[in-house]
Symmetry: none
Subunit: 193 residues, 4 copies
């Protein structure tokens, strides 16, 4: 039931946008009555929030899988893994992701997102501190912030408006180069002329 309702919520959100998403419509699409909906969820927002938590959970699961590879490899491989992790995470459910970003008003529901972002950024910072000797930036915290925002924004935008560069691998390539040159400026990285 909970699953059915969350799936219906996702479908309605994607199809009709946040403003067009009513509890009666969700119940209808789920094939149950509104009353049943309210027996499993206290209010409309709890549905959306739960859906968001699950979605973020899935993205993080995909991300974490690759993110763990970072420790035992050299920097080029680590950065590439990071970028690939971001791309895969964004590819989990792009339409749902878009509706969360573009349609849902941000209140408490976005705490999950902020926590996930914070966790990634902290992980990145720890990684950079552990590799301190070889990386250029002095302030690992600031570097983690910049690298995270850079990778997140680029993959996010690419998923929504440059999907062609996702499939041909060019985005991963170039974004890896960008991050790598920032972190290891002395080495000649990537495909410079």
């Amino acid at each position: 039931m909970v699953e059915t309702l969350l799936e219906a919520t996702a479908r309605v959100l994607v199809r009709e946008g946040y403003e067009g998403t009513t509890t009666n419509r969700i119940a209808e699409v789920a094939g149950v009555s509104v009353g049943s909906l309210y027996q499993y969820f206290p209010n409309k927002d709890s549905l959306v929030t739960e859906l968001m938590e699950r979605h973020v959970g899935e993205m993080m699961a995909v991300f974490d899988e690759k993110f763990e590879e970072l420790e035992d490899v050299d920097m080029p491989k680590a950065v590439r893994a990071l970028v690939e992790a971001a791309v895969r995470a964004h590819a989990v459910a792009p339409e749902l992701h878009r509706v969360f970003v573009e349609q849902v008003p941000r209140y408490g529901n976005f705490d999950v997102v902020r926590e996930a972002e914070s966790r990634i950024e902290k992980g990145l910072r720890g990684f950079l501190e552990r590799r301190g000797a070889e990386t250029a930036p002095e302030d690992a915290g600031l570097a983690a912030f910049l690298v995270f925002r850079t990778v997140e924004a680029s993959t996010h935008a690419a998923v929504l408006e440059r999907s062609e560069h996702l499939t041909d691998g060019r985005l991963v390539e170039e974004l890896t180069a960008l991050v790598l040159r920032y972190l290891l400026p002395r080495t000649t990285t990537g495909h410079s002329r």
Copy 2:
């Protein structure tokens, strides 16, 4: 009157969020009657859209001023100018900016935003093509996309959650280094150890 209403709209949006923004509330805060509101704006969304257009216009004006400096200077100066332009643009009205990004559902109203973004990205691409000989990335279009998203996301996030790094200049410094190393990887740039 138009000004008063738009100011009231901005205040209500920031204070109550998009969903709490009603035309009667706007009129009340503006100190006029709903009827007057509807003599100047055909419907609720037109207020929000107009406010957004003005805000984007102001951001772009601030941005463009610095952006023009890019042509006649060397790459380090040009990239620094770009980053500073982005920071200043985001500092125009951070609270209003946040409400647009976090609260307003994206439909036609975001066309202005998309146009502005597109214009900047194209400008950046032209800039990179003109400097082709000295820059590393082969695909100026992709590079412009990455640089734009990187700078936008970093300044955006910094304005909203790392304002301390804006005032001490460290964000500008580091972001400039990041972009510069991407574009000119062979030179030793910035403050590496």
Copy 3:
């Protein structure tokens, strides 16, 4: 519920006129909430239209019952039956009838009325054509038009402003004479001196 709402609509229409008929008022009089009203009727006009269709349906049912007698009787009896049918139809719900005629703006909702009128007029024409040999008017279509309008208008006006002549039977008597003399001019009909 549908019945309750339609009854309430009728009461409010009669009591307050069309302009004073609001959906909240109807709901209030019906003893339900506006929300319920909108669960059974898509909008305000649909209530009025439905009420009108039922009213016309009832008038026609009453009318048709007598109208069927026309075929197998002589002309005087047939014309009297016609007039009596009209009087009875108009007596079904005079106050509601008045409000439809005097208060409700005529748009699509009056299509039922026009159809009913058209059906009666066509029936009358068929009747006249079948009795062609004995009736005076050459053009059965025109005669049907005149007879229909004459009977309709007279009974209508009588119901609304000469109800005394309805109860004493004088109106039926005289109107029958009028129609009969038109259709059968050579016979001495009715109560001439």
Copy 4:
């Protein structure tokens, strides 16, 4: 100014219907400001009422002109004059007439109409009483009522939906026959076979 406003009211009524007729629209069409409108008319309904009074006045002027001929001629000529008077009166401004009948809610504004109708009916009654010796109906009041309603309804309906029978003179012919046979049943009237 008063003329301009009334003309504008008529135009708006015909074009937009009663519900679409707003004082601001009237003022706009009249080329003056709403304020001016309210300097000559105390409220919206007074415009409509005044327009109705004038329209009824014009119809009655046209009607009366022919109606006066009734006295000094024989019955066939008198009845024909009556019918022609009705037709001409209805042809004065058919579109405006329609909008009054079909769109304007009947309150005090229709008093003019009721007075005019009453005057005609009384006139008819007097005429019938004066011609008592030659006419059939015993009750001149009832006969006047029937003749008036018959002629009014037939010309009214013909103007709105059988205009072809107005121009070819058939309606006048047949309606005259109808009334004449009612009033003078013993004579062979009209074009019987």
